[in-house]
């Protein structure tokens, strides 16, 4: 029983991370049709920004300061990416994606240049470093923080999308960008906004990934990105709840498979993806006209 709970908590913790990364990717893809390969770099930048703050200011205060810094760093980088890289290539969709591939290579390398290739250790405040007892299972507190953060983000995004004008524009833009523009809405600003929002979530993911692993290294974001892609594809690109469900599924499947056999976890995700894609072939080719 306690193993089951532990596995579930670990799986959901991982799922939370996936969701933080994938939600931004999914929003960007849904609205702009851009598959953003630089998203992992946003995660890494957020992570390093947070780590730097916490390195200077110890304890809970450092963490409290690191949070807005990580979010802001991710958002700023993403907004800049949209303005400087994505927007000028608007008429060249493939090149947009290729440019993000270039960024995805360059930014982690830059991080490595500044902070070195070796992992930097996070020192967690005492209250975070411990474990919580749930029905006999000792679960690291950080996982609850992760899950809480993901749920908070899900809730916030859901509110943003359903209750605000900005959300209205995004939801409408996913359906028909031209018509949104024809109603007098500046779609490009919405694009930048969504990119920044995704970047903010990625920055948060960078911070939390550091807490989860206890350390950060330049390539962390990129390895998260691959699973986030899987989640986005499984969650039917552009759908927030779909992304959340897919993230939970991937995290849980991975952990439970890992428990069965040490190497099976990641492979099981691949098998899951292949299976679902094959069953759902039609959707990916686009809805019928």
């Amino acid at each position: 029983m306690s193993t089951l709970i532990l596995l579930t908590a670990t799986g959901l913790g991982l799922a939370a991370l996936y969701f933080l990364v994938a939600s931004g990717l999914s929003l960007i893809f849904g609205l702009m049709d851009v598959l953003n390969f630089a998203h992992g770099a946003f995660v890494a930048v957020g992570g390093y920004a947070a780590w730097t703050v916490a390195d200077h200011v110890a304890g809970t205060l450092g963490l409290a300061l690191a949070l807005p810094v990580a979010v802001a760093a991710g958002a700023a980088l993403a907004a800049l990416t949209e303005l400087l890289i994505i927007r000028p290539l608007y008429a060249r969709p493939l090149d947009q994606v290729l440019a993000t591939v270039g960024l995805g290579l360059a930014i982690p390398a830059l991080l490595q240049a500044v902070w070195g290739a070796d992992p930097r250790t996070w020192t967690l405040p005492a209250w975070l470093a411990g474990t919580l007892d749930v029905l006999g299972a000792r679960i690291p507190t950080v996982r609850f923080v992760l899950i809480a953060a993901a749920l908070a983000l899900l809730g916030a995004l859901q509110l943003l999308l359903t209750r605000t004008r900005a959300g209205l524009i995004v939801r409408a833009g996913v359906e028909n960008r031209e018509m949104v523009a024809a109603l007098g809405v500046d779609v490009h600003r919405a694009f930048t906004g969504v990119f920044a929002l995704g970047g903010a979530a990625a920055g948060l993911a960078g911070l939390l990934d550091g807490l989860y692993q206890g350390s950060i290294s330049p390539g962390d974001g990129t390895s998260l990105l691959i699973f986030a892609f899987v989640v986005v594809v499984l969650g039917r690109m552009g759908s927030l709840t779909g992304t959340a469900v897919a993230a939970a599924a991937v995290g849980l499947v991975q952990q439970f498979a890992n428990y069965l056999s040490a190497d099976l976890g990641d492979e099981s995700v691949v098998i899951l993806l292949a299976a679902v894609l094959l069953l759902r072939r039609r959707d990916l080719k686009g809805r019928p006209a």
């Binding site: 598959l35 960008r177 190497d263 691949v270 094959l278 686009g286």
Partner: protein
């Protein structure tokens, strides 16, 4: 005038150029030429030959990737897994099963072929973004298998040195670097030959057509799936062979080839050089591999160490420089290095005539197929492999781009933004 000349150009000139290049490359290990600033020693020194060998190997790998991306229009993020397969299957069979090098390599190729058939037939059942993701995930699975699957067999993060006893004397030792160089050159030659042979064949034509307009191919009565699978299998087999060659060049297997950066690197090489343009791809790959290798070395040199920290750091990261260059090429040189000659010629014309009209450029494109194919981005990307619809056409869109995207949307019947 240009297009007239290029139409009249005898096919023999091309063949002569290829032969000349091949002969020059073959003769490199006999040359003591020094290129200060480019190479540390004379051409025949082991260090330089090793560097050149890696460049040639990557040129071959990039050609194999281009068969998919530039020629058939499918974007795979799992190409590195074939290189990994060739490398690791051979190593494991040699080190742990006591096979000879040749049988092990052949077995590696067999595994590569089987893997390409199986993965290809599964992954190609989905299009565009789905295919990219499935191959990415497959690549990741192989990467994890290699790094953490069974360290006793694969050597985990460290990789594994190839059992020295199994390597023929001619391919081991610093003195024999020239042989390794020729091996890499041979691999490049094989890749180029296969690519040439395949692309001029009937199925090669169909592959090109699939890239341009998949639906139209279907309506011609051909099943695009089979042709994509053929391209995938041939490319996979070539990459597997590249893995074996790389193994010999390095003297051991390294998990680097399994990482997603490795496949992305191949994509970068192809785009850098010019997708679908053989000379361009070779040039892009050689440039990338050279930069990758020598930047790493340069970073350790005294001149860089003397730079202030803010500059030194990034310069020590080849991937940073390559990534930035890549973005720059995507931005300012759509179609890659291969379009440079045409661009230079065009800018010369502009100087001569004052204004370069769009029509003028188009006329030139019409005349010369080769300078034409990537004279602008629309020609190199008639359909985007990983987007689900055409972009909204803004007022700043070139007619050419729009042509490509609007037909795409209309034919796929997917116009969520119509």
């Amino acid at each position: 005038m240009n297009h007239v000349r290029s139409l009249m150009r005898p096919a023999g000139r091309r063949a002569a150029a290829v032969l000349l290049a091949a002969a020059a490359l073959y003769a490199v290990p006999y040359s003591t030429l020094r290129l200060p600033g480019v190479f540390d020693g004379p051409l025949d020194s082991p260090g330089v030959l090793q560097l050149l060998a890696v460049c040639l190997l990557f040129a071959g790998l990039a050609l194999s990737y281009d068969l998919l991306f530039g020629h058939t229009g499918i974007m795979s993020f799992g190409h590195g897994l074939f290189v990994t397969g060739g490398m690791y299957v051979t190593t494991i069979l040699v080190n742990h099963a006591g096979y000879g090098l040749v049988p092990a390599a052949l077995a590696g190729l067999g595994v590569g072929l089987a893997a390409a058939l199986v993965l290809g037939s599964v992954a190609l059942r989905v299009d565009g973004i789905g295919f990219a993701m499935v191959t990415l995930a497959f690549g990741q699975a192989v990467s994890l298998l290699v790094v953490s699957g069974s360290p006793a067999l694969t050597g985990g993060e460290q990789g594994q040195t190839l059992n020295a006893g199994a390597v023929p004397a001619a391919l081991s030792g610093v003195r024999n670097t020239a042989n390794l160089y020729w091996l890499a050159l041979g691999y490049l030659a094989v890749c180029a030959a296969v690519l040439w042979w395949l692309t001029t064949s009937v199925p090669g034509r169909v592959m090109r057509a699939v890239k341009e307009n998949e639906r139209r191919v279907e309506v011609l009565g051909l099943n695009p799936y089979l042709f994509k699978l053929l391209a995938f299998v041939v490319a996979g087999l070539l990459a597997t062979g590249g893995g074996v060659v790389y193994l010999l060049l390095l003297g051991g297997a390294t998990p680097v080839v399994a990482g997603s950066d490795f496949t992305l690197g191949l994509l970068v090489m192809v785009v850098l050089g010019g997708a679908g343009r053989r000379w361009g791809v070779v040039a892009g790959a050689v440039l990338y591999a050279y930069a990758d290798q020598s930047l790493t070395r340069l970073s350790g040199s005294a001149s860089v160490a003397a730079l202030p920290g803010a500059l030194r750091g990034p310069l020590q990261q080849p991937l940073f420089l390559l990534g930035v260059c890549f973005v720059a090429v995507v931005f300012f040189l759509p179609g890659g290095l291969a379009t440079l000659p045409a661009r230079l010629r065009a800018s010369k014309t502009r100087v001569g005539h004052g204004v370069r009209t769009r029509n003028g450029r188009r006329a030139q494109r019409a005349g010369s197929r080769h300078s034409g194919l990537s004279a602008d981005a629309s020609a190199t990307q008639p359909r985007s492999p990983i987007r689900r619809s055409a972009p909204q056409a803004g007022p700043n869109v070139l007619p050419g781009h729009n042509a490509a995207s609007s037909t795409g949307a209309a034919e796929e019947g997917v116009t969520p933004h119509g």
